[in-house]
């Protein structure tokens, strides 16, 4: 009798299993619900982990523009610029194709408030697929032919600090995903560069006042930062364009509105022969690209095409996830980026949690008002918001529950609870 019952139970289980398997196998790109996600590049590692936590095991993916060095992330795809996911939502089993194109916080907010009209480019359905072997690639994303409205966006700052055009309508469904740390770094130099510009080694700390002057004016002389007379080479800020939440938080930390027009450079040229772009309000569209250009050695020996002379230094504001993969000990392909202390405080999880270090932002996950909570995008958004506390990578992001300090609002200095 018992054996018979067990057999029935086993048969039932097998039957249910086969039903589930056949359901998974029945998913097709033609019939699956498509969900589109954009926004913060800095927090994409945690966002990717939250997406995957919201899917049933066995999903497939195709991820492009990954960083070659991705530790301490668990997976290279957490650094991808573009990805397609093919799977089923864990919450209700719905077949879904989830597409990500990380474009910056402000671009994400634009996608949210213009959810009826603002389309972005994603990889089309021919890249990867249900049952297709997953793809990890550092190559550029192919077939970005799927131009589509966006359902979910990540942002490094709250909506009231977004661009004026993105502050209305108010987004109905938005959750706080965690805290994203940011850092200031100085550019890489070869041994020969340092010999030409030895003062580079003295640059170890930046203050708010130094940064305010440097980012608004024509750079600042190195002596401003080091206090050592006669260091007349200029230090310039290299940064992000105004679609960036990293930039927004840098400006807020310095006491500016996120709309402040600044004077920063875009590094060009190549490793060994970097060039200075004319100062202006523009910047790099991704933290990864900014980080890669900051890795170019040679500025210690290169012409200063802004203020004249030879030898210059670039400092940049970056998301911790983009910076750490280009710093020692993780980056060993050449001279690494060097993190600077801010107002004498080194970035660390503890320093942020306690409010000692102030350059960080609260991460937000928004569901477009065009989607309801009961839509599949809404179901995914709810799952992601639930998953964030465990989706973060220690050292790169911080769960809200661990924070002992708060910034209210985003422009405020951190206050210990």
């Amino acid at each position: 009798m018992t054996m018979k019952v067990n057999k029935i139970a086993l048969a039932t289980a097998l039957g249910l299993g086969s039903i589930a398997a056949s359901h998974a196998q029945s998913c097709t790109t033609a019939t699956a619900t498509h969900i589109y996600i954009t926004g913060s590049t800095a927090f994409r590692g945690a966002a990717v982990a939250a997406i995957e936590a919201s899917l049933k095991p066995g999903f497939a993916y195709a991820a492009y523009k990954e960083s070659a060095s991705f530790a301490p992330y668990a997976n290279a795809r957490q650094t991808a610029g573009y990805a397609n996911y093919y799977g089923q939502l864990a919450a209700d089993g719905t077949c879904v194709v989830i597409k990500t194109a990380w474009s910056g916080s402000e671009a994400g907010y634009q996608d949210m408030v213009k959810c009826t009209s603002q389309k972005e480019s994603f990889m089309d359905d021919t890249i990867g697929g249900f049952g297709v072997t997953s793809i990890d690639s550092t190559a550029s994303n192919p077939n970005a032919n799927d131009s589509h409205l966006v359902d979910i966006a990540m942002a490094d700052n709250s909506q009231p600090f977004a661009k004026p055009a993105s502050r209305t309508p108010v987004i109905n469904n938005i959750c706080r995903a965690g805290v994203i740390p940011f850092v200031w770094v100085k550019n890489s130099q070869s041994v020969a560069d340092i010999a030409n510009l030895p003062g580079w080694t003295n640059l170890v700390n930046v203050t708010d006042a130094q940064l305010r002057v440097t980012i608004l004016n024509s750079g600042s002389k190195l002596s401003t930062f080091t206090g050592i007379p006669g260091q007349n080479n200029y230090v310039y800020v290299a940064g992000r364009d105004n679609n960036s939440g990293t930039r927004n938080n840098a400006l807020l930390q310095l006491g500016f509105p996120t709309t402040q027009v600044i004077n920063q450079t875009i590094i060009g040229g190549a490793n060994g022969a970097p060039t200075l772009g004319a100062l202006g309000n523009g910047g790099q569209s991704s933290g990864g690209t900014l980080g890669n250009t900051m890795l170019y050695t040679g500025s210690g020996s290169a012409a200063d095409t802004i203020n004249g002379g030879t030898g210059w230094i670039a400092i940049a504001y970056m998301g911790k996830p983009d910076a750490i993969t280009r710093e020692l000990p993780l980056y060993t392909a050449g001279p690494a980026l060097n993190e600077l202390t801010l107002d004498g405080v080194a970035e660390s999880v503890t320093a942020i949690e306690q409010g000692q270090y102030s350059y960080w932002g609260q991460e937000y996950c928004a569901l477009a008002n065009c989607d309801t909570l009961t839509s599949e995008a809404g179901v995914l958004w709810t799952s992601m918001c639930t998953a964030f506390p465990t989706a973060i990578t220690p050292g790169l992001e911080i769960p809200m529950s661990a924070m002992q300090a708060t910034k209210t609002p985003d422009s405020a200095d951190p206050v210990h609870n």
Binding site: F256, T259, N307
Partner: protein, 254 residues
């Protein structure tokens, strides 16, 4: 030049410029081009009016004649139109504050910043040019975000950070933390006459008076370059003497 002399020069020029051809006013703000922004606000208003007057050169800086900034197309409005817009925003021309700022910042050897101050108050303190230029550029960005053509009505109480008051016009603004306030008041009862501001330029580190900006209660707006007064005064005196001489000679003939 005294205020009375400046106003007299403007009043004289107004008639002479009556048939002046309209120029081309700027459509949209471009940073770092020395575009001069006219900001107008009042203590009780939650909106600032910002008008891009074009580049310093287009607004008459360095020129030789008084320029009617309405007729020349710099404001994009007639005097009556400007007065009407100001009145609809602030309830009238009285008790307003206005100022003009602008500049560019390429490097430590190629930069400029312009600022008005109340007439006769002397050269303003103009600190780090890049910082002041950023304030002006951010207002210009607000013009692009909130406006059409060369002007915008920008809310100053919404925390956008792009209004005249937030960046330039208030004591806590970035501009006024790094330089003298560019704001000039109109009289408490401004139903006739002019309010005059001196425009200074700090070009590559050297500060000079560039001229005067004159706002009339009727919405007229003039720029008179500093180089105009003395030659004009001499010219006028010469013309007057010549006219008297001709008249006397004519009278003699009669």
């Amino acid at each position: 030049m005294t205020t009375i002399t400046k106003i007299a020069a403007v009043a004289a020029a107004a008639g002479a410029l009556a048939n002046q051809a309209s120029g081309q006013f700027v459509s949209g703000f471009t940073a770092n081009q020395d575009q001069l922004l006219l900001g107008i606000t009042s203590p009780s208003s939650t909106t600032d009016l910002v008008i891009d007057l074009g580049t310093a050169t287009q607004a008459g800086v360095g020129g030789g004649t008084t320029l009617d900034l309405n007729l020349n197309g710099n404001t994009g409005l007639t005097a009556a139109g400007l007065q009407s817009e100001i009145t609809s925003l602030f309830g009238g021309m009285s008790g307003l504050e206005f100022g003009v700022v602008g500049g560019h910042n390429v490097n430590v050897n190629n930069n400029a910043i312009y600022s008005t101050v109340p007439d006769g108050s002397g050269a303003p303190v103009l600190g780090a040019v890049g910082t002041l230029n950023s304030a002006a550029n951010t207002v210009g960005q607000g013009l692009n975000d909130f406006g059409t053509g060369n002007q915008a009505q920008i809310p100053n109480n919404q925390g956008y950070g792009e209004s005249w008051g937030e960046e330039v016009g208030s004591p806590t603004s970035l501009w006024q933390k790094n330089g003298t306030s560019p704001m000039v008041g109109t009289p408490a009862s401004f139903t006739s006459g002019y309010a005059v501001a001196d425009l200074y330029g700090k070009v590559n580190g050297t500060t000079v008076e560039e001229g005067t900006v004159t706002l009339g209660s009727d919405g007229s707006l003039f720029f008179t370059p500093s180089v105009v007064p003395e030659p004009d005064a001499f010219t006028l005196a010469g013309l007057g003497a010549a006219a008297l001489l001709i008249r006397r000679r004519g009278a003699t003939r009669l």
